[in-house]
Protein backbone atom coordinates (compact mmCIF):
# COMPACT_ATOMS: atom_id res chain seq x y z
CA UNK A 1 0.00 0.00 0.00
CA UNK A 2 2.87 2.36 0.83
CA UNK A 3 4.20 2.02 -2.71
CA UNK A 4 0.78 2.75 -4.20
CA UNK A 5 0.28 5.92 -2.21
CA UNK A 6 3.81 7.05 -3.02
CA UNK A 7 3.07 6.56 -6.69
CA UNK A 8 -0.29 8.28 -6.37
CA UNK A 9 1.35 11.26 -4.69
CA UNK A 10 3.88 11.65 -7.47
CA UNK A 11 1.34 11.24 -10.23
CA UNK A 12 -0.95 13.79 -8.60
CA UNK A 13 1.97 16.17 -8.40
CA UNK A 14 2.56 15.75 -12.11
CA UNK A 15 -1.14 15.99 -12.95
CA UNK A 16 -1.68 19.24 -11.12
CA UNK A 17 1.72 20.63 -12.00
CA UNK A 18 0.03 22.05 -15.06
CA UNK A 19 -2.23 24.63 -13.45
CA UNK A 20 -3.39 26.18 -16.77
CA UNK A 21 -4.91 22.84 -17.76
CA UNK A 22 -7.12 22.75 -14.66
CA UNK A 23 -7.98 26.44 -15.03
CA UNK A 24 -8.91 25.74 -18.66
CA UNK A 25 -11.51 23.23 -17.49
CA UNK A 26 -13.10 25.83 -15.21
CA UNK A 27 -12.90 28.48 -17.93
CA UNK A 28 -14.55 26.10 -20.38
CA UNK A 29 -17.37 25.48 -17.90
CA UNK A 30 -17.80 29.17 -17.14
CA UNK A 31 -17.92 30.12 -20.81
CA UNK A 32 -20.39 27.37 -21.71
CA UNK A 33 -22.59 27.93 -18.68
CA UNK A 34 -22.69 31.72 -18.42
CA UNK A 35 -22.56 32.59 -22.13
CA UNK A 36 -23.84 29.74 -24.27
CA UNK A 37 -26.15 28.33 -21.56
CA UNK A 38 -27.76 31.73 -20.94
CA UNK A 39 -28.34 32.33 -24.63
CA UNK A 40 -29.68 28.92 -25.50
CA UNK A 41 -32.02 28.79 -22.50
CA UNK A 42 -33.70 32.00 -23.74
CA UNK A 43 -34.60 30.21 -26.94
CA UNK A 44 -35.79 27.00 -25.27
CA UNK A 45 -38.98 27.50 -23.32
CA UNK A 46 -39.59 23.85 -22.58
CA UNK A 47 -38.58 21.98 -20.50
CA UNK A 48 -39.16 24.54 -17.80
CA UNK A 49 -35.90 26.11 -16.52
CA UNK A 50 -33.76 24.71 -19.29
CA UNK A 51 -30.81 26.73 -17.94
CA UNK A 52 -30.52 24.41 -14.92
CA UNK A 53 -31.15 21.37 -17.14
CA UNK A 54 -28.34 22.54 -19.41
CA UNK A 55 -26.02 23.22 -16.43
CA UNK A 56 -26.36 19.64 -15.16
CA UNK A 57 -25.86 18.32 -18.68
CA UNK A 58 -22.69 20.37 -18.96
CA UNK A 59 -21.41 18.87 -15.69
CA UNK A 60 -21.90 15.39 -17.14
CA UNK A 61 -20.13 16.33 -20.39
CA UNK A 62 -17.20 17.64 -18.34
CA UNK A 63 -17.16 14.48 -16.23
CA UNK A 64 -17.02 12.49 -19.44
CA UNK A 65 -14.15 14.62 -20.76
CA UNK A 66 -12.07 14.43 -17.58
CA UNK A 67 -12.64 10.68 -17.25
CA UNK A 68 -11.65 10.24 -20.90
CA UNK A 69 -8.50 12.20 -20.11
CA UNK A 70 -7.59 9.52 -17.54
CA UNK A 71 -7.64 6.85 -20.23
CA UNK A 72 -5.66 9.07 -22.58
CA UNK A 73 -3.09 9.80 -19.89
CA UNK A 74 -2.68 6.07 -19.29
CA UNK A 75 -1.99 5.56 -22.98
CA UNK A 76 0.41 8.49 -23.15
CA UNK A 77 2.24 7.04 -20.17
CA UNK A 78 2.82 3.87 -22.18
CA UNK A 79 4.09 5.77 -25.19
CA UNK A 80 6.38 8.05 -23.19
CA UNK A 81 7.79 5.09 -21.26
CA UNK A 82 6.54 6.18 -17.85
CA UNK A 83 4.26 3.18 -17.62
CA UNK A 84 7.05 0.73 -18.40
CA UNK A 85 9.11 2.24 -15.60
CA UNK A 86 6.18 1.89 -13.21
CA UNK A 87 5.72 -1.73 -14.31
CA UNK A 88 9.30 -2.44 -13.22
CA UNK A 89 8.61 -1.23 -9.67
CA UNK A 90 7.49 -3.54 -6.86
CA UNK A 91 3.79 -2.75 -7.25
CA UNK A 92 1.04 -5.27 -7.91
CA UNK A 93 -0.63 -4.92 -11.32
CA UNK A 94 -4.08 -4.89 -9.71
CA UNK A 95 -2.86 -2.19 -7.33
CA UNK A 96 -1.58 -0.16 -10.25
CA UNK A 97 -5.00 -0.34 -11.90
CA UNK A 98 -6.65 0.81 -8.64
CA UNK A 99 -4.13 3.64 -8.32
CA UNK A 100 -4.93 4.85 -11.85
CA UNK A 101 -8.63 4.87 -10.99
CA UNK A 102 -8.02 6.74 -7.75
CA UNK A 103 -5.88 9.27 -9.62
CA UNK A 104 -8.70 9.74 -12.14
CA UNK A 105 -11.28 10.19 -9.37
CA UNK A 106 -9.20 12.82 -7.59
CA UNK A 107 -8.59 14.64 -10.89
CA UNK A 108 -12.33 14.53 -11.50
CA UNK A 109 -13.10 15.84 -8.07
CA UNK A 110 -10.70 18.77 -8.42
CA UNK A 111 -11.82 19.70 -11.92
CA UNK A 112 -15.58 19.11 -11.60
CA UNK A 113 -15.97 20.01 -7.91
CA UNK A 114 -15.88 23.83 -8.22
CA UNK A 115 -18.31 23.98 -11.20
CA UNK A 116 -20.67 21.62 -9.35
CA UNK A 117 -20.60 23.77 -6.21
CA UNK A 118 -21.24 26.84 -8.35
CA UNK A 119 -24.29 25.33 -10.08
CA UNK A 120 -25.75 24.13 -6.80
CA UNK A 121 -25.10 27.45 -5.06
CA UNK A 122 -26.56 29.54 -7.87
CA UNK A 123 -29.68 27.41 -7.79
CA UNK A 124 -30.03 27.49 -4.02
CA UNK A 125 -29.66 23.76 -3.41
CA UNK A 126 -28.91 22.38 0.06
CA UNK A 127 -25.40 21.04 0.93
CA UNK A 128 -26.70 17.45 1.11
CA UNK A 129 -27.28 17.58 -2.64
CA UNK A 130 -23.58 18.30 -3.09
CA UNK A 131 -22.75 14.93 -1.54
CA UNK A 132 -25.27 12.91 -3.54
CA UNK A 133 -24.52 14.63 -6.83
CA UNK A 134 -20.78 14.23 -6.27
CA UNK A 135 -21.34 10.52 -5.63
CA UNK A 136 -23.31 10.22 -8.88
CA UNK A 137 -20.69 12.05 -10.95
CA UNK A 138 -17.82 10.01 -9.47
CA UNK A 139 -19.68 6.74 -10.06
CA UNK A 140 -20.19 7.74 -13.66
CA UNK A 141 -16.54 8.68 -14.04
CA UNK A 142 -15.49 5.22 -12.78
CA UNK A 143 -17.49 3.63 -15.59
CA UNK A 144 -16.14 6.03 -18.21
CA UNK A 145 -12.53 5.60 -17.02
CA UNK A 146 -12.99 1.83 -17.06
CA UNK A 147 -14.14 1.99 -20.69
CA UNK A 148 -11.33 4.32 -21.76
CA UNK A 149 -8.56 2.40 -19.99
CA UNK A 150 -9.92 -0.89 -21.33
CA UNK A 151 -9.80 0.57 -24.82
CA UNK A 152 -6.15 1.47 -24.31
CA UNK A 153 -5.05 -1.84 -25.83
CA UNK A 154 -6.06 -0.35 -29.19
CA UNK A 155 -3.74 2.59 -28.60
CA UNK A 156 -0.74 0.32 -28.20
CA UNK A 157 -1.33 -0.70 -31.81
CA UNK A 158 -2.23 2.77 -33.08
CA UNK A 159 -2.74 6.00 -31.18
CA UNK A 160 -4.61 7.48 -34.19
CA UNK A 161 -7.17 4.68 -34.20
CA UNK A 162 -7.58 5.02 -30.43
CA UNK A 163 -8.16 8.78 -30.74
CA UNK A 164 -10.68 8.26 -33.54
CA UNK A 165 -12.58 5.61 -31.56
CA UNK A 166 -12.65 7.73 -28.40
CA UNK A 167 -13.85 10.80 -30.33
CA UNK A 168 -16.57 8.81 -32.12
CA UNK A 169 -17.66 7.09 -28.91
CA UNK A 170 -17.86 10.46 -27.13
CA UNK A 171 -19.91 12.00 -29.92
CA UNK A 172 -22.38 9.11 -30.00
CA UNK A 173 -22.71 8.68 -26.23
CA UNK A 174 -23.29 12.38 -25.55
CA UNK A 175 -25.70 13.07 -28.43
CA UNK A 176 -27.80 9.91 -28.06
CA UNK A 177 -28.60 10.51 -24.40
CA UNK A 178 -30.69 12.73 -22.16
CA UNK A 179 -27.72 14.91 -21.32
CA UNK A 180 -29.00 17.89 -23.31
CA UNK A 181 -32.68 17.06 -23.93
CA UNK A 182 -35.19 14.83 -22.07
CA UNK A 183 -36.89 11.77 -23.52
CA UNK A 184 -40.23 13.50 -24.09
CA UNK A 185 -38.66 15.80 -26.69
CA UNK A 186 -36.84 13.11 -28.58
CA UNK A 187 -37.98 11.47 -31.80
CA UNK A 188 -38.88 7.83 -31.20
CA UNK A 189 -35.79 6.50 -32.99
CA UNK A 190 -33.49 8.67 -30.84
CA UNK A 191 -35.30 7.63 -27.70
CA UNK A 192 -34.89 3.91 -28.35
CA UNK A 193 -31.14 4.38 -28.84
CA UNK A 194 -30.80 6.65 -25.80
CA UNK A 195 -32.36 4.01 -23.57
CA UNK A 196 -29.35 1.77 -24.21
CA UNK A 197 -26.91 4.53 -23.34
CA UNK A 198 -25.47 4.41 -19.79
CA UNK A 199 -24.97 8.20 -19.84
CA UNK A 200 -28.76 8.59 -20.05
CA UNK A 201 -29.11 6.82 -16.72
CA UNK A 202 -26.29 8.84 -15.18
CA UNK A 203 -27.78 12.14 -16.36
CA UNK A 204 -31.25 11.26 -15.12
CA UNK A 205 -29.89 10.06 -11.80
CA UNK A 206 -28.03 13.36 -11.29
CA UNK A 207 -31.20 15.33 -12.05
CA UNK A 208 -33.14 13.08 -9.72
CA UNK A 209 -30.86 13.84 -6.78
CA UNK A 210 -31.16 17.54 -7.67
CA UNK A 211 -34.96 17.17 -7.92
CA UNK A 212 -35.07 18.65 -11.43
CA UNK A 213 -38.28 18.00 -13.39
CA UNK A 214 -38.59 14.49 -11.98
CA UNK A 215 -41.67 13.67 -14.11
CA UNK A 216 -39.48 13.48 -17.22
CA UNK A 217 -36.76 11.25 -15.77
CA UNK A 218 -36.14 7.52 -15.61
CA UNK A 219 -36.76 5.78 -12.32
CA UNK A 220 -33.87 6.45 -9.92
CA UNK A 221 -33.79 2.77 -8.88
CA UNK A 222 -33.13 1.62 -12.42
CA UNK A 223 -30.61 4.42 -12.96
CA UNK A 224 -28.63 3.45 -9.82
CA UNK A 225 -28.51 -0.19 -10.93
CA UNK A 226 -27.33 0.73 -14.45
CA UNK A 227 -24.66 3.21 -13.29
CA UNK A 228 -23.32 0.75 -10.69
CA UNK A 229 -23.40 -2.18 -13.12
CA UNK A 230 -21.55 -0.27 -15.85
CA UNK A 231 -18.93 0.87 -13.34
CA UNK A 232 -18.36 -2.66 -12.02
CA UNK A 233 -18.38 -4.25 -15.48
CA UNK A 234 -15.85 -1.84 -16.98
CA UNK A 235 -13.68 -2.07 -13.88
CA UNK A 236 -13.62 -5.85 -14.12
CA UNK A 237 -12.92 -5.71 -17.85
CA UNK A 238 -10.08 -3.26 -17.26
CA UNK A 239 -8.56 -5.39 -14.51
CA UNK A 240 -8.48 -8.38 -16.85
CA UNK A 241 -7.44 -6.58 -20.05
CA UNK A 242 -4.93 -4.03 -18.83
CA UNK A 243 -2.26 -6.28 -17.27
CA UNK A 244 -2.33 -8.56 -20.32
CA UNK A 245 -2.17 -5.62 -22.66
CA UNK A 246 0.64 -3.86 -20.85
CA UNK A 247 2.89 -6.88 -20.62
CA UNK A 248 2.36 -7.69 -24.26
CA UNK A 249 3.58 -4.29 -25.45
CA UNK A 250 6.67 -4.67 -27.59
CA UNK A 251 7.87 -1.11 -27.55
CA UNK A 252 6.55 2.16 -26.35
Amino acid sequence: MRELFTLLGYELRETFDSIPWTVYFWFYFGFQYFVYGQLVSRLILEPHDYYLYYGTGLLIIMTFNVASWSGRRFVEGAHEGRLRYILSLPIRRSGLFAEQLLLGLIANLVRIGPPLVLVLWLNGMPPAVLLTSTAVLLSMSVGIMGIMISLSFIAFKSFDIYSAIVATTSAILIRFSTILYPFSYMPEAYESVARFNPLTYGADLLRNVMSIDVSQLLSPGTAIVVVAAVGLATLSLGMVLVPRTLEGVRSS
Partner: protein
Amino acid sequence: MPNRTVKIFNSNSRRAETARGSPSLVNGARLRTSSLRGSWVRIPPPALLSGTRDRNVFLCITGTFGVGLNTAVQTFDLTKAYGNAKALDALNLKVRQGEILVLLGPNGSGKTTFLNLISTVLRPTSGTATVMGYDIVKQSLKVRETIGISFQEPRGFWRHKPYHILSFHAAIYGLKGKEKSEVVDQTLKDFELWTSRNKRFMELSGGQGKRLEVAKLFVNRPKVAVFDEPTAMVDLDGKRLIWDKIRQLREQGSTLVVATNEVREAEYLADRISIMKGGKEVVTQDLRTLKDSISGGDVVEVGVSPTITSGALKAIEEVPGTVRVTQTSENMLNAFVNRSEDWLPQMMASVQSFGVKITSIRVSEPSLDDVFLHYTGKEAVKASA
Protein backbone atom coordinates in the same frame (compact mmCIF):
# COMPACT_ATOMS: atom_id res chain seq x y z
CA MET B 1 11.39 -29.65 7.90
CA PRO B 2 7.80 -30.15 6.64
CA ASN B 3 7.15 -31.75 3.28
CA ARG B 4 6.39 -29.35 0.50
CA THR B 5 4.99 -29.72 -2.97
CA VAL B 6 7.55 -28.65 -5.51
CA LYS B 7 6.98 -28.29 -9.22
CA ILE B 8 9.73 -29.83 -11.28
CA PHE B 9 10.51 -29.25 -14.90
CA ASN B 10 11.56 -32.64 -16.18
CA SER B 11 13.92 -31.83 -19.02
CA ASN B 12 13.72 -35.39 -20.33
CA SER B 13 9.99 -35.49 -20.85
CA ARG B 14 9.87 -31.66 -21.13
CA ARG B 15 6.83 -31.73 -18.88
CA ALA B 16 6.01 -30.25 -15.52
CA GLU B 17 5.79 -32.72 -12.68
CA THR B 18 4.98 -32.37 -9.05
CA ALA B 19 6.90 -33.90 -6.17
CA ARG B 20 6.34 -33.80 -2.46
CA GLY B 21 9.41 -33.83 -0.34
CA SER B 22 11.78 -31.95 1.83
CA PRO B 23 14.04 -29.94 -0.45
CA SER B 24 16.26 -28.86 2.38
CA LEU B 25 19.79 -29.73 1.42
CA VAL B 26 21.50 -29.38 -1.91
CA ASN B 27 25.22 -29.99 -2.07
CA GLY B 28 25.27 -29.64 1.67
CA ALA B 29 23.83 -26.15 1.75
CA ARG B 30 20.44 -25.08 2.93
CA LEU B 31 18.01 -23.64 0.42
CA ARG B 32 15.23 -21.26 1.24
CA THR B 33 12.23 -23.51 0.67
CA SER B 34 9.91 -20.52 0.42
CA SER B 35 11.76 -19.51 -2.71
CA LEU B 36 11.14 -22.96 -4.16
CA ARG B 37 7.43 -23.02 -3.56
CA GLY B 38 5.59 -22.81 -6.84
CA SER B 39 8.72 -22.09 -8.80
CA TRP B 40 10.09 -24.17 -11.64
CA VAL B 41 13.05 -26.26 -10.68
CA ARG B 42 15.15 -27.96 -13.26
CA ILE B 43 16.92 -31.26 -12.67
CA PRO B 44 19.42 -32.07 -15.40
CA PRO B 45 19.00 -35.33 -17.33
CA PRO B 46 22.03 -37.12 -15.79
CA ALA B 47 20.48 -36.82 -12.35
CA LEU B 48 17.19 -38.25 -13.51
CA LEU B 49 18.92 -41.11 -15.29
CA SER B 50 21.32 -42.04 -12.55
CA GLY B 51 19.17 -42.95 -9.58
CA THR B 52 15.89 -44.03 -8.20
CA ARG B 53 12.60 -42.84 -9.62
CA ASP B 54 11.83 -41.07 -6.37
CA ARG B 55 12.47 -37.47 -7.25
CA ASN B 56 12.73 -36.47 -3.62
CA VAL B 57 16.12 -38.19 -3.60
CA PHE B 58 17.34 -35.92 -6.32
CA LEU B 59 15.91 -32.91 -4.61
CA CYS B 60 17.80 -33.73 -1.45
CA ILE B 61 21.04 -35.21 -2.68
CA THR B 62 22.00 -34.71 -6.28
CA GLY B 63 19.61 -32.15 -7.59
CA THR B 64 21.12 -29.14 -9.29
CA PHE B 65 18.49 -26.54 -8.97
CA GLY B 66 17.64 -23.64 -11.21
CA VAL B 67 17.74 -21.69 -8.00
CA GLY B 68 21.20 -23.02 -7.28
CA LEU B 69 23.44 -21.48 -4.72
CA ASN B 70 25.58 -19.43 -7.06
CA THR B 71 22.93 -18.53 -9.57
CA ALA B 72 21.35 -15.09 -9.60
CA VAL B 73 19.35 -15.46 -12.80
CA GLN B 74 18.54 -18.58 -14.74
CA THR B 75 16.28 -19.00 -17.73
CA PHE B 76 14.49 -22.14 -18.83
CA ASP B 77 13.62 -22.15 -22.54
CA LEU B 78 12.61 -18.52 -22.12
CA THR B 79 10.69 -17.40 -25.18
CA LYS B 80 8.97 -14.17 -26.17
CA ALA B 81 7.10 -14.11 -29.45
CA TYR B 82 5.16 -11.37 -31.19
CA GLY B 83 2.97 -13.25 -33.64
CA ASN B 84 5.30 -15.46 -35.63
CA ALA B 85 8.41 -13.43 -34.82
CA LYS B 86 10.43 -14.67 -31.87
CA ALA B 87 12.25 -11.87 -30.07
CA LEU B 88 13.72 -14.46 -27.70
CA ASP B 89 13.86 -18.09 -28.70
CA ALA B 90 14.07 -20.78 -25.98
CA LEU B 91 16.93 -19.05 -24.19
CA ASN B 92 18.77 -21.00 -21.50
CA LEU B 93 21.19 -18.70 -19.75
CA LYS B 94 22.66 -18.57 -16.28
CA VAL B 95 23.98 -15.48 -14.51
CA ARG B 96 26.22 -16.20 -11.53
CA GLN B 97 25.82 -14.30 -8.30
CA GLY B 98 28.16 -11.35 -8.00
CA GLU B 99 29.31 -11.26 -11.61
CA ILE B 100 28.90 -8.73 -14.40
CA LEU B 101 27.47 -10.55 -17.39
CA VAL B 102 27.53 -8.46 -20.54
CA LEU B 103 25.08 -9.29 -23.29
CA LEU B 104 26.62 -8.39 -26.60
CA GLY B 105 24.69 -8.68 -29.81
CA PRO B 106 23.50 -6.88 -32.90
CA ASN B 107 20.23 -4.94 -32.92
CA GLY B 108 17.27 -7.29 -32.66
CA SER B 109 19.25 -10.06 -31.03
CA GLY B 110 16.90 -10.17 -28.03
CA LYS B 111 19.02 -8.41 -25.39
CA THR B 112 16.41 -5.82 -24.41
CA THR B 113 13.61 -8.38 -24.49
CA PHE B 114 15.62 -10.58 -22.14
CA LEU B 115 16.14 -7.71 -19.69
CA ASN B 116 12.47 -6.75 -19.81
CA LEU B 117 11.41 -10.34 -19.21
CA ILE B 118 13.59 -10.93 -16.18
CA SER B 119 12.45 -7.56 -14.80
CA THR B 120 8.82 -8.74 -15.28
CA VAL B 121 8.01 -5.73 -17.43
CA LEU B 122 7.08 -8.26 -20.12
CA ARG B 123 5.59 -11.73 -19.69
CA PRO B 124 7.18 -14.65 -21.50
CA THR B 125 5.25 -16.45 -24.20
CA SER B 126 6.63 -19.74 -22.91
CA GLY B 127 9.36 -20.99 -20.60
CA THR B 128 10.33 -19.10 -17.51
CA ALA B 129 13.24 -17.76 -15.46
CA THR B 130 14.21 -17.32 -11.85
CA VAL B 131 15.76 -14.23 -10.27
CA MET B 132 17.42 -15.02 -6.94
CA GLY B 133 15.18 -18.06 -6.80
CA TYR B 134 11.91 -16.28 -7.53
CA ASP B 135 9.92 -17.28 -10.58
CA ILE B 136 9.32 -14.34 -12.94
CA VAL B 137 5.79 -15.49 -13.77
CA LYS B 138 4.50 -16.80 -10.46
CA GLN B 139 6.41 -14.59 -8.06
CA SER B 140 6.70 -11.46 -10.14
CA LEU B 141 6.24 -9.08 -7.20
CA LYS B 142 9.10 -10.77 -5.31
CA VAL B 143 11.22 -10.53 -8.46
CA ARG B 144 10.51 -6.80 -8.75
CA GLU B 145 11.56 -6.34 -5.15
CA THR B 146 14.87 -8.01 -6.00
CA ILE B 147 15.76 -6.61 -9.41
CA GLY B 148 16.16 -3.11 -10.80
CA ILE B 149 16.29 -2.08 -14.43
CA SER B 150 17.86 0.93 -16.09
CA PHE B 151 16.11 1.30 -19.43
CA GLN B 152 17.72 1.95 -22.78
CA GLU B 153 15.90 5.26 -23.13
CA PRO B 154 15.42 7.40 -20.04
CA ARG B 155 12.03 6.64 -18.57
CA GLY B 156 10.11 8.43 -15.91
CA PHE B 157 8.27 11.57 -15.24
CA TRP B 158 8.97 14.14 -17.90
CA ARG B 159 7.80 17.17 -15.94
CA HIS B 160 9.58 16.17 -12.76
CA LYS B 161 13.04 17.23 -11.65
CA PRO B 162 16.00 14.88 -11.07
CA TYR B 163 15.75 15.36 -7.32
CA HIS B 164 12.09 14.35 -7.27
CA ILE B 165 12.60 11.45 -9.66
CA LEU B 166 15.30 9.90 -7.46
CA SER B 167 13.37 10.78 -4.34
CA PHE B 168 10.31 8.97 -5.70
CA HIS B 169 12.41 5.93 -6.59
CA ALA B 170 13.90 5.89 -3.08
CA ALA B 171 10.47 6.21 -1.46
CA ILE B 172 9.09 3.30 -3.49
CA TYR B 173 11.88 1.13 -2.08
CA GLY B 174 11.13 2.20 1.46
CA LEU B 175 13.69 4.93 2.14
CA LYS B 176 12.33 7.88 4.05
CA GLY B 177 13.25 11.00 5.97
CA LYS B 178 16.85 11.99 6.42
CA GLU B 179 18.19 8.71 5.06
CA LYS B 180 16.30 9.23 1.82
CA SER B 181 17.54 12.81 1.45
CA GLU B 182 21.14 11.80 2.10
CA VAL B 183 21.05 8.92 -0.40
CA VAL B 184 19.40 11.06 -3.08
CA ASP B 185 21.80 13.99 -2.55
CA GLN B 186 24.82 11.70 -2.68
CA THR B 187 23.61 9.92 -5.82
CA LEU B 188 23.01 13.24 -7.57
CA LYS B 189 26.54 14.31 -6.69
CA ASP B 190 28.06 10.97 -7.69
CA PHE B 191 26.47 11.19 -11.13
CA GLU B 192 27.34 14.88 -11.56
CA LEU B 193 23.69 15.89 -11.62
CA TRP B 194 23.73 18.08 -8.53
CA THR B 195 23.71 21.38 -10.41
CA SER B 196 20.84 20.15 -12.62
CA ARG B 197 18.77 18.73 -9.77
CA ASN B 198 16.08 21.38 -10.10
CA LYS B 199 15.78 21.35 -13.87
CA ARG B 200 12.84 19.50 -15.35
CA PHE B 201 13.63 16.12 -16.85
CA MET B 202 12.64 17.35 -20.32
CA GLU B 203 15.23 20.15 -20.03
CA LEU B 204 18.16 17.80 -19.37
CA SER B 205 20.62 16.90 -22.13
CA GLY B 206 20.58 13.36 -23.54
CA GLY B 207 23.66 12.44 -21.51
CA GLN B 208 22.25 13.89 -18.29
CA GLY B 209 18.97 12.04 -18.82
CA LYS B 210 20.85 8.79 -19.33
CA ARG B 211 22.96 9.35 -16.21
CA LEU B 212 19.78 9.96 -14.24
CA GLU B 213 18.29 6.74 -15.61
CA VAL B 214 21.36 4.80 -14.48
CA ALA B 215 21.52 6.65 -11.15
CA LYS B 216 18.10 5.34 -10.09
CA LEU B 217 19.58 1.91 -9.43
CA PHE B 218 22.20 3.43 -7.13
CA VAL B 219 19.49 4.75 -4.83
CA ASN B 220 18.14 1.33 -3.87
CA ARG B 221 21.10 -0.88 -4.95
CA PRO B 222 19.11 -3.96 -5.97
CA LYS B 223 20.48 -7.48 -5.57
CA VAL B 224 20.27 -7.88 -9.33
CA ALA B 225 20.74 -4.76 -11.45
CA VAL B 226 20.22 -4.77 -15.18
CA PHE B 227 21.38 -2.01 -17.50
CA ASP B 228 20.23 -1.65 -21.07
CA GLU B 229 22.91 0.22 -23.02
CA PRO B 230 23.93 2.28 -20.00
CA THR B 231 26.23 4.66 -21.86
CA ALA B 232 24.30 5.25 -25.07
CA MET B 233 24.21 9.02 -25.78
CA VAL B 234 26.83 9.66 -23.09
CA ASP B 235 30.17 11.41 -23.74
CA LEU B 236 33.52 9.78 -22.94
CA ASP B 237 33.84 11.25 -19.43
CA GLY B 238 30.28 10.23 -18.70
CA LYS B 239 30.95 6.71 -19.96
CA ARG B 240 33.95 6.32 -17.64
CA LEU B 241 31.89 7.61 -14.73
CA ILE B 242 29.06 5.16 -15.39
CA TRP B 243 31.42 2.23 -15.95
CA ASP B 244 33.22 2.90 -12.67
CA LYS B 245 29.92 3.17 -10.83
CA ILE B 246 28.67 -0.10 -12.34
CA ARG B 247 31.81 -1.90 -11.21
CA GLN B 248 31.42 -0.32 -7.79
CA LEU B 249 27.90 -1.70 -7.57
CA ARG B 250 29.24 -5.19 -8.26
CA GLU B 251 31.89 -4.76 -5.56
CA GLN B 252 29.09 -3.93 -3.13
CA GLY B 253 27.51 -7.32 -3.80
CA SER B 254 25.05 -6.84 -6.63
CA THR B 255 24.83 -9.10 -9.64
CA LEU B 256 24.79 -7.15 -12.88
CA VAL B 257 23.55 -7.83 -16.38
CA VAL B 258 24.53 -5.23 -18.96
CA ALA B 259 23.24 -5.21 -22.53
CA THR B 260 25.33 -3.29 -24.99
CA ASN B 261 26.37 -2.86 -28.62
CA GLU B 262 29.67 -1.33 -27.61
CA VAL B 263 32.56 -3.74 -27.66
CA ARG B 264 34.74 -1.41 -25.58
CA GLU B 265 32.08 -1.27 -22.89
CA ALA B 266 31.89 -5.05 -22.82
CA GLU B 267 35.68 -5.35 -22.55
CA TYR B 268 35.81 -2.83 -19.73
CA LEU B 269 32.95 -4.26 -17.66
CA ALA B 270 32.51 -7.95 -18.29
CA ASP B 271 33.41 -10.86 -16.11
CA ARG B 272 31.72 -12.95 -18.76
CA ILE B 273 30.29 -12.06 -22.14
CA SER B 274 27.24 -13.64 -23.68
CA ILE B 275 27.01 -13.12 -27.41
CA MET B 276 23.43 -13.21 -28.66
CA LYS B 277 22.00 -13.46 -32.11
CA GLY B 278 18.45 -13.92 -33.39
CA GLY B 279 17.00 -14.30 -29.90
CA LYS B 280 19.44 -17.05 -28.99
CA GLU B 281 22.61 -17.29 -26.97
CA VAL B 282 25.53 -18.08 -29.30
CA VAL B 283 28.25 -18.38 -26.69
CA THR B 284 28.92 -17.31 -23.08
CA GLN B 285 32.49 -17.19 -21.79
CA ASP B 286 35.01 -14.89 -20.19
CA LEU B 287 36.92 -12.62 -22.56
CA ARG B 288 40.16 -14.66 -22.53
CA THR B 289 38.37 -17.90 -23.37
CA LEU B 290 36.38 -16.20 -26.10
CA LYS B 291 39.56 -14.87 -27.73
CA ASP B 292 41.26 -18.24 -27.42
CA SER B 293 38.24 -19.92 -28.96
CA ILE B 294 38.93 -18.39 -32.36
CA SER B 295 41.08 -20.78 -34.35
CA GLY B 296 44.19 -18.93 -35.59
CA GLY B 297 43.08 -15.81 -33.83
CA ASP B 298 46.56 -14.76 -32.65
CA VAL B 299 48.64 -13.19 -35.42
CA VAL B 300 52.43 -13.39 -34.93
CA GLU B 301 54.56 -11.25 -37.24
CA VAL B 302 58.08 -12.74 -37.35
CA GLY B 303 61.18 -11.01 -38.80
CA VAL B 304 64.24 -13.15 -39.59
CA SER B 305 67.81 -12.73 -40.82
CA PRO B 306 69.14 -13.22 -43.40
CA THR B 307 66.14 -14.78 -45.23
CA ILE B 308 63.44 -17.36 -44.64
CA THR B 309 64.50 -20.72 -46.00
CA SER B 310 61.98 -23.27 -47.23
CA GLY B 311 63.10 -25.63 -44.47
CA ALA B 312 62.49 -23.03 -41.76
CA LEU B 313 59.10 -22.17 -43.24
CA LYS B 314 58.09 -25.83 -43.23
CA ALA B 315 59.28 -26.20 -39.64
CA ILE B 316 57.17 -23.23 -38.56
CA GLU B 317 54.11 -24.65 -40.32
CA GLU B 318 54.57 -27.88 -38.39
CA VAL B 319 54.70 -26.24 -34.93
CA PRO B 320 51.61 -27.36 -32.96
CA GLY B 321 49.01 -24.59 -32.88
CA THR B 322 49.86 -23.19 -36.30
CA VAL B 323 46.77 -22.62 -38.41
CA ARG B 324 48.30 -20.83 -41.39
CA VAL B 325 51.60 -19.12 -42.36
CA THR B 326 51.94 -16.35 -44.92
CA GLN B 327 55.33 -15.08 -46.13
CA THR B 328 55.06 -11.33 -46.65
CA SER B 329 58.67 -10.63 -47.80
CA GLU B 330 62.08 -12.35 -48.00
CA ASN B 331 62.60 -11.94 -44.27
CA MET B 332 59.07 -11.46 -42.84
CA LEU B 333 56.14 -13.80 -42.27
CA ASN B 334 52.76 -13.76 -40.57
CA ALA B 335 51.71 -16.83 -38.60
CA PHE B 336 48.05 -17.31 -37.60
CA VAL B 337 48.18 -19.44 -34.47
CA ASN B 338 46.24 -20.62 -31.46
CA ARG B 339 47.54 -19.47 -28.07
CA SER B 340 50.64 -17.55 -29.14
CA GLU B 341 52.13 -17.78 -25.64
CA ASP B 342 52.47 -21.56 -26.05
CA TRP B 343 53.37 -21.42 -29.76
CA LEU B 344 56.25 -18.91 -29.62
CA PRO B 345 58.85 -20.92 -27.61
CA GLN B 346 58.25 -23.99 -29.78
CA MET B 347 58.60 -21.97 -32.97
CA MET B 348 61.88 -20.38 -31.81
CA ALA B 349 63.33 -23.76 -30.93
CA SER B 350 62.34 -25.33 -34.26
CA VAL B 351 63.89 -22.62 -36.52
CA GLN B 352 67.23 -22.50 -34.67
CA SER B 353 68.54 -25.63 -36.43
CA PHE B 354 68.06 -23.97 -39.86
CA GLY B 355 70.57 -21.21 -39.09
CA VAL B 356 67.87 -18.56 -39.15
CA LYS B 357 68.10 -15.71 -36.66
CA ILE B 358 64.89 -14.13 -35.40
CA THR B 359 65.16 -10.31 -35.45
CA SER B 360 61.68 -9.23 -34.46
CA ILE B 361 58.41 -10.62 -33.12
CA ARG B 362 55.09 -8.80 -32.87
CA VAL B 363 52.02 -10.53 -31.49
CA SER B 364 48.48 -9.26 -31.91
CA GLU B 365 45.64 -11.16 -30.31
CA PRO B 366 42.10 -11.04 -31.71
CA SER B 367 40.04 -8.12 -30.53
CA LEU B 368 36.57 -8.55 -29.11
CA ASP B 369 35.39 -7.09 -32.42
CA ASP B 370 36.93 -10.12 -34.14
CA VAL B 371 35.29 -12.44 -31.62
CA PHE B 372 31.93 -10.69 -32.05
CA LEU B 373 32.10 -10.88 -35.83
CA HIS B 374 33.28 -14.46 -35.67
CA TYR B 375 30.30 -15.54 -33.57
CA THR B 376 27.64 -13.39 -35.20
CA GLY B 377 28.94 -13.78 -38.74
CA LYS B 378 28.89 -16.65 -41.22
CA GLU B 379 30.83 -18.97 -38.97
CA ALA B 380 28.13 -18.73 -36.31
CA VAL B 381 25.47 -19.56 -38.86
CA LYS B 382 27.41 -22.66 -39.88
CA ALA B 383 27.91 -23.63 -36.27
CA SER B 384 24.22 -23.51 -35.49
CA ALA B 385 23.12 -25.22 -38.68
